[in-house]
Amino acid sequence: MTVTQAAESALGSACPVTPAGPGDAVDGTPAGLVARPASTDEVAEVMRAAAAHGLSVVPRGRGTKQTWGRPPSAADVVVDLAAMDAVLDHAAGDLIVETQAGARLEDVQAQVATAGQRLVVDDTVPGASMGGTLAAHTSGPQRMLVGTVRDLLIGVTVVRADGVVAHAGGRVVKNVAGYDLGKLLIGSYGTLGVVTEAVFRLHPVPEARRWVAVDVPDAVRAHEVVHRVVHAQVVPHAVEVETTDGGGFRVAVLLGGREAGVVQRCAATRELLGPTAADLDAEPDPTYPWAPGETGLKLTCLLSGVGELLGAAHGVGARVRGSAGTGVLYAALPPAPAADVAVAVERLRATCTLLGGSAVVVDAPAEVKQVVDVWGPVPGGDAGLDLMRRVKDRFDPEHRLAPGRFVGGI
């Protein structure tokens, strides 16, 4: 759809609007206009204007994950939230932080660090915004400790497709008043609304952090080591596994806490890992393992299946990195003809399903996305998808928000 002059001027009265360039395309789908609102009110006005003119809208934080998910079927307006980059309130005594959606995670971390605090969310995609982190539900090694943003988001402001501004939750950690809309928005890829502000629970920065690691030759051994650690009582803050150059795996364990306690727990962990275990001098890379041109997957399984999943990944030539201690792994399939990649994806998906989890293609070249089912089945199959569609239909009855980017064409 071409954006009419009337629509452009309605959007332009809400906030600065510019014609979109090639760099604004969303996973290959060209965008019409880019709107740059600076407040929740401006976002609401943009959304009302878009609604009035029947325009599709794709929210964008810092644009670090534009190639994730399915390409949207249309992107008349990209709502760019980079101007909403403020940390609105850091209430250190209450261990909470309130930010705008366009604030970079790293900037939020820098600010709360001044009070010896942190948001326990790894910067898995450098430069990512808070809004993007919520929308794509990214997580890294430390999900082992307190979970993901799902477990840390305590309040949210969202602008609906019709421009109505709604809040859920609040500024206190404990709160069961009303529906937890934050849960629905997390991982929804911008298909239910535009998150403009969010409140998160913070944690103290531990006095000491140390990594202990061991290299093992195969998936079976990696599984054993991971299970020894997670079933012990050393309280690891992360249990990571990564494919090594020799075709084996490195299992790395993060211990955090009081200095003296960490020293003792490191010693106990080295015992669990075996005689070749050693302290790591540098932090393992928390980012996802795939490079441009590769196919990146998120693979999950029940803990008892970690070894089998690692074996399956190795079997299809994928490099793996991820939170083995929680059953969440990321895999990179090297560039190959799309049909071959599709076969590997299906094989991994079959294994994940068998092991109680799922396989999602997070990022991939366009030709791969054309031949693979990016999202795969949702829990509950058709009935589950139907329920999701009913939610979408209520929030966005005209299907103008990031259309087609999510599961089942939502």
Binding site: H167, K183, L387
Partner: protein, 488 residues
């Protein structure tokens, strides 16, 4: 009360369930007239006690078909009237669905039916070295299904989170009577996090069965410390110092003088004589870590002015300390014929200010208030004492209780931290949320339950009809069809 719809559901129940599991006699129906919030009472139209998820789904299907409202009930211990029955509706009781279907140590998961008692999950997992972390004070009797509906917390959620952080998957019996699995045993299932929306929705989006729960490794070391202070301000200051020092204890619980008096009278927990406030502080984790934190916590409490510190030396000791805290609500019955348990939340740093304000409200009204709370996360449970035999006393207590909620909202808090909105607090929701906020929550309700048959009248103050999604379902609204309501 009967109606053609209710009779039709009763007929289905009689056909599918054992005779003793379908209750229609008025005297027996009345035993289900309230949950843990006993001053709201409604005799249900019909009570069914399904033996399994299939029977439960069949009952809900029958309700959907005949436009009959239903309310799910676990152990009936809820404190917000969430399981208050509907006079022309069906009360679906899950107390026969008590199977622990699996305890999988290697996966750190348990799969349980909704009627399973919270503490029984931990009992089943303990031999494997694991436990279920959310521990509401009623954990010896409350059900997992009720916990899921309410997103229950407990003393240890400061460190370990709430029910929602410990549920990976569950089967949802939708308000249409269809069974839809939500989530997977593994984290982050693709698609919308419907389970995250349903947990804590107080039964308004359907009924959850067969829940997959996360099990947590038992800590190597647990230290439970009882600390006596002269004033609640000192105890509050100690709490702040501990948190500021970067320590997140498994629990920090506070009780004031009146609550201590009640607990002593009820369970002889041996709290320090003459204390104006006590803190129960629990540290858990790796032994070396707990050792370090313990030394610091004791020092910080002393700095804040504690006059007595007592470390539990064995399991019996620890149990005694917790008995005082966990029996506090019931114990208040020893010092007052009637009481309201309030459940408000404030930012923790507002604690001294809000406690002073509560004291002022209490003095001005002459209504006594005992304070018990989860100090670590600012979740207050003021117990408003009254004697219902005295004319007007109930209303005065209700007023004080409402004033306390207003204090919570004024300080940026919440009207409920763990007990839920239920029937009790629906009227307060507009004080916390705007019309647009509530309208947006209704979108979720309408997606799951357009006919409004699943626990109607709870959570939201003004139930509204869902209308139709433009260009989609063309059939008349079921309530309209049944002649029960007009679309507006």
């Amino acid at each position: 009360m009967t109606s053609p719809g209710l009779d039709a559901v009763a007929a289905v129940a009689h056909r599918l369930l054992a005779p003793e599991d379908v209750i229609t006699e008025r005297a027996r129906l009345r035993t289900y007239e309230c949950d843990g919030l006993a001053h709201y009472r409604v005799t249900p139209g019909l009570v069914v006690v399904p033996a399994d998820a299939e029977q439960l789904a069949a009952i809900v299907r029958a309700c959907a078909e005949h436009g009959v409202p239903y309310v799910a009930r676990g152990s009936g211990t809820g404190l917000s009237g969430g399981a208050l029955p509907h006079a022309e509706g069906v009360l679906v009781v899950t107390s026969r669905m008590r199977a622990i279907l699996a305890v999988r140590r290697d996966d750190q998961r348990a799969v349980v039916e909704p009627g399973v008692i919270n503490l029984d999950v931990t009992r089943a997992a303990t031999p494997e070295g694991y436990y279920y972390a959310p521990d509401p004070s009623s954990q010896q009797v409350c059900s997992i299904g009720g916990n899921l509906a309410e997103n229950s917390g407990g003393a240890h959620c400061l460190k370990y989170g709430f029910t929602t952080n410990h549920v990976l998957a569950a089967d949802l019996v939708t308000p249409q009577g269809e069974t839809v699995p939500l989530g997977t045993g593994a984290p982050d299932a693709p698609g919308y996090d419907l389970l995250g929306a349903v947990v804590g929705s107080e039964g308004t989006l359907g009924v959850l069965t067969a829940a997959t729960l996360k099990l947590v490794r038992l800590p190597e070391e647990v230290r439970t410390l009882l600390v006596g202070f002269e004033t609640t301000d000192q105890a509050g200051a100690a709490t702040s110092k501990i948190i500021a020092a970067g320590i997140i204890p498994a629990a920090i619980e506070m009780m004031d003088a009146l609550a201590i008096e009640a607990a002593e009278a009820a369970v002889q927990c041996g709290y320090p004589d003459g204390a104006g406030a006590v803190l129960v502080i629990e540290l858990d984790g790796a032994a070396s870590e707990v050792e370090e934190e313990y030394a610091e916590v004791t020092r910080l409490c002393e700095e804040a002015g504690s006059f007595e510190q007592r470390l539990a030396t064995d399991a019996a000791d620890r149990a005694a300390i917790w008995r005082g805290r966990k029996s506090a609500f019931a114990a208040v019955g020893r010092i007052s014929p009637d009481y309201i348990v309030q459940d408000g939340v404030i930012p923790r740093t507002a604690l001294p200010e809000v406690l002073t304000a509560i004291r002022r409200v209490s003095e001005e009204s002459g209504v006594r208030v005992a304070n018990v709370f989860h100090a670590g996360d600012g979740n207050l449970h003021p117990l408003v004492l009254f004697d219902d035999a005295v004319e007007g006393a109930g209303d005065a207590a209700e007023e004080v209780s409402g004033a306390i909620l207003d204090l919570c909202i004024e300080h940026g808090g919440s009207i409920t931290g763990e007990h839920g909105v239920g029937a009790d607090k629906a009227k307060y929701m507009p004080r916390m949320y705007s019309d647009d906020d509530l309208d947006t929550m209704q979108l979720v309700r309408c997606a799951f339950d357009p006919a409004g048959v699943s626990n109607p009248g709870k959570v939201f103050p003004t139930p509204r009809l869902c209308g139709e999604v433009p260009g989609r379902h063309k059939a008349p609204h079921p309530l309209q069809q049944a002649g029960l309501a007009e679309v507006f």
